[in-house]
Symmetry: C2
Subunit: 467 residues, 2 copies
């Protein structure tokens, strides 16, 4: 049904994109055939490294007229196959569109191209005394990818998710038209929330070529504490108590000893403490140390009443580095312990986290697979890894599917969602359909067709369950 790329297409594209930014067939590195988890593999026929909105618009217009599938890709750090070219065609790589265009101190906004990496963005604004709160673990993701998945990260407890920090998006529609949704304005009640619809749409409705982000003043103080517990149950059961205490926290992360040890092995660096089964890591921030002290004292006492063995400040540079580097490396560290793994990033209401983690242990036993997890206890978003550990492939598939069915069914039962921040992409479509039902899938497909009547942009993803 789609047009297959041929020499004529390549020649045309070379009339406005220099040949050194166009890669055909075997010239394309295998890296572009998959994302970070690698269970969805497909190579595009053509890879184009774009530099501008206008280039994207011209490519898209040509693809639209000729019915060629197109998919946009940033750093390829996705986990659900969102940015894989499952129908072939053109892959637009945005990683050279990596410029910070404007810091507007009057409006507290930052204008960026989509290929800017999260770590570059955070470093830039913090140098200038500003703060971009969304803080997903994967710092080498592009901001375009973060917006496309509505990434959340560790500070969502206090600051919310990527959506809350996107003021405007310049995009190229499937027909090649360039549109801007939103502005630097704080409020907007002017027609449907198009900007919000694009956030989290995983590159299926349009290609983001510029974003205006909301910034906050950088809090002058930030304190983290690590609290060990003898069991994971005890560690997690304290979280609803913390929330009920109305304390103001920036992050509540949980981690188990085996994950910490994997990170120590992976990084070759020691974690400050490895004497207990489970840990929670708390962060507090603000501008007034007295207020922060009151908060962490209250919370630490509460945790100790509820079974914490101790509370260490993560205060020296060395300790900060060892804890946060470990936290940042958990995914890679778990990956290094097994030959293959798949993931699940369900989100459940905060007061269901303890029950849900307990349930992952039951699933692990039931399917006889190792299922480590870590994640955001304070916002209910878990990162759960199902490890193959050299199991033969057919047996792995059976057990993996059973584990996924159990995990997603339990999330539904708890009124949770399939994905808290990684998205649906290709790998999780079936589970989305199960969760939201036929009517909602029809609405989503309808919206997709409004933007993309020829279904050329990142086809077969999110709400297309049978492709």
């Amino acid at each position: 049904m789609y047009k297959k790329i041929d020499n004529k297409d390549v020649e045309y594209l070379k009339t406005f994109i220099p040949a050194e930014r166009i890669f055909v067939g075997e010239e394309i590195s295998h890296d572009y055939a998959h994302d970070e988890l690698g269970d969805v593999e497909a190579k595009p026929d053509l890879l184009i490294k774009v530099l501008s909105t206008e280039e994207v618009s011209k490519i898209m217009k040509y693809a639209y007229d000729n019915e060629i599938p197109v998919v946009a890709r940033g750093s390829g750090t996705g986990l659900v196959g969102s940015s894989t070219a499952i129908k072939g065609g053109i892959m637009i790589c945005t990683s050279l569109m990596n410029h910070i265009l404007e810091l507007d101190e009057n409006n507290l906004t930052l204008t960026v191209e989509p290929g800017v990496l999260l770590m570059e963005l955070q470093a830039y604004v913090e140098e200038h005394g500003f703060f971009y709160p969304p803080d997903p673990g994967e710092k080498s993701a592009t901001i375009g990818g973060n917006i496309s998945t509505n990434a959340g990260g560790m500070r969502a407890v206090k600051y919310g998710v990527t959506r809350d920090y996107v003021r405007a998006l310049k995009v190229v529609l499937p027909n090649g038209n360039i549109e801007t949704f939103g502005s630097k304005c704080v409020k907007n009640s002017s027609g449907y929330a198009m900007k919000d619809l694009i956030v989290g749409s995983e590159g299926t409705l349009c290609i983001i070529t510029e974003a205006i982000l909301k910034l906050l003043p950088l809090p002058s103080q930030s304190v983290s504490m690590l609290l060990p517990f003898t069991t994971m149950e005890k560690a997690i059961e304290v979280v609803p108590e913390i929330i009920k205490s109305k304390a103001s926290l920036t992050a509540i992360e949980y981690m188990s000893l085996d994950t910490i040890i994997s990170a120590e092995d992976f990084l070759g660096k020691k974690f400050p403490d490895t004497n207990y089964e489970a840990y929670i890591l708390l962060t507090f921030d603000g501008n007034n140390m007295q207020e922060i002290e009151e908060e962490y004292t209250k919370v630490a006492n509460l945790c100790i009443e509820h079974g914490a063995i101790d509370g260490y400040f993560v205060d020296t540079d060395e300790r900060k580095k060892s804890v946060w580097n470990a936290r940042g490396a958990f995914l890679e560290a778990i990956k290094a312990t097994t030959d293959f793994m798949d993931e699940c990033d369900v989100v459940v209401p905060k007061d269901k986290v303890a029950s849900y983690i307990k349930y992952t242990h039951e699933v692990a036993k039931e399917v006889n697979l190792r299922i480590p997890s870590f994640g955001h206890a304070g916002d209910g978003n878990l990162h759960i890894y199902i490890c193959r550990d050299n199991l033969p492939n057919d047996e792995w598939e059976i057990r993996l599917n059973k584990a996924f069915d159990m995990l997603y069914n339990k999330a539904n039962e708890f009124d949770g969602h399939v994905s808290g921040e990684h998205g649906i992409g290709y790998a999780k479509r079936k589970y989305l359909a199960n969760q939201v039902g036929e009517q909602q899938i029809q609405l989503m497909q309808g919206i997709k067709k409004v933007f993309d009547p020829k279904e050329i942009l990142n086809p077969g993803k999110v709400c297309y369950i049978n492709e």
Copy 2:
């Protein structure tokens, strides 16, 4: 094209709705023919006061099968004709669905029916030590209306707008199906952002029958200051300086002497000070008085450096009442000074507010009409009132249209939006189309048709410019 209501329809509806909640033709009060501004007038053929999602679903299903237009209405405090039955048909009044269903202290959420009034909701959560930050001036609006317009209010500077506090919506679709978008979860990256699309869609995509709102712990301290200036220019020009200082403010409102005097006359109550041309009202909140003191001292000094004559604390109960009652009565007070008025609630980037207010004075001179304004200097959302003052109707129309054209063109020039929080409804459709252009209007119409293929739900609004 639509089916006209007849006796058979009424008889059918009476099979599941008691007759005392169904009003036909002349039984319907004229109040239901318009909203707060009254320039769009149209009476429904049938008014039904609903009690449940299931009733709404059955009505909607019948209307869908029979192609009868339906519009939902809360308190009728809108300003752009969103909830008027311009095509006749059925009006669903949600004001009896006014129950607070659940306060969930573990997840910091409140579940409500759509007819709960903002003032009831705020009072309820504050009694329990929680905080619902969105704070539009009109406290007798329903929460359903606030969600449908993505209302903003005074605390948007620090806390954001209604959208940021909606976790989930139970809705009835035009075909009668009941769906829930979102959940109590903090994060969500599971398919398109349907919940966010519904927020601000002014009752054109579905009818909201239940909402789960996000709460915060109630800040223990709140301090307001009133600062007089000799001119409005001086008052407004200080605002970008405040924002650049990175101070943490909850609200920055501006008000002119003539508006304050209108409020004094309207309420029969004195304002604390009426010696100067212009005032800004600042609010600071938090849990630590020391931190708040540091902030307001910094900001007050900055204001005095930039021309503030003084800084009064709005601290005694009496003073709080006189200031906030006046602020809450501005719309009604201005309305009482003229026989008729129309409004414009443009939003512009924060650093354009001073220029924009100056421009409203130029427009007033150009069209020779009185154009008072007040509003949210801290978030760029202005409330501008164009007063007829007994002008003959044909002349009024000419001057009003000229004033609107000038005001909305200037907002476009400043990269602003037609509406910051009141919506587009019926009255502002032309200006929305001018602002966003044909492609975006087509996308919005496409989305509308996905939800409502027969165009029976609140037809002719928002993106339908020629009806």
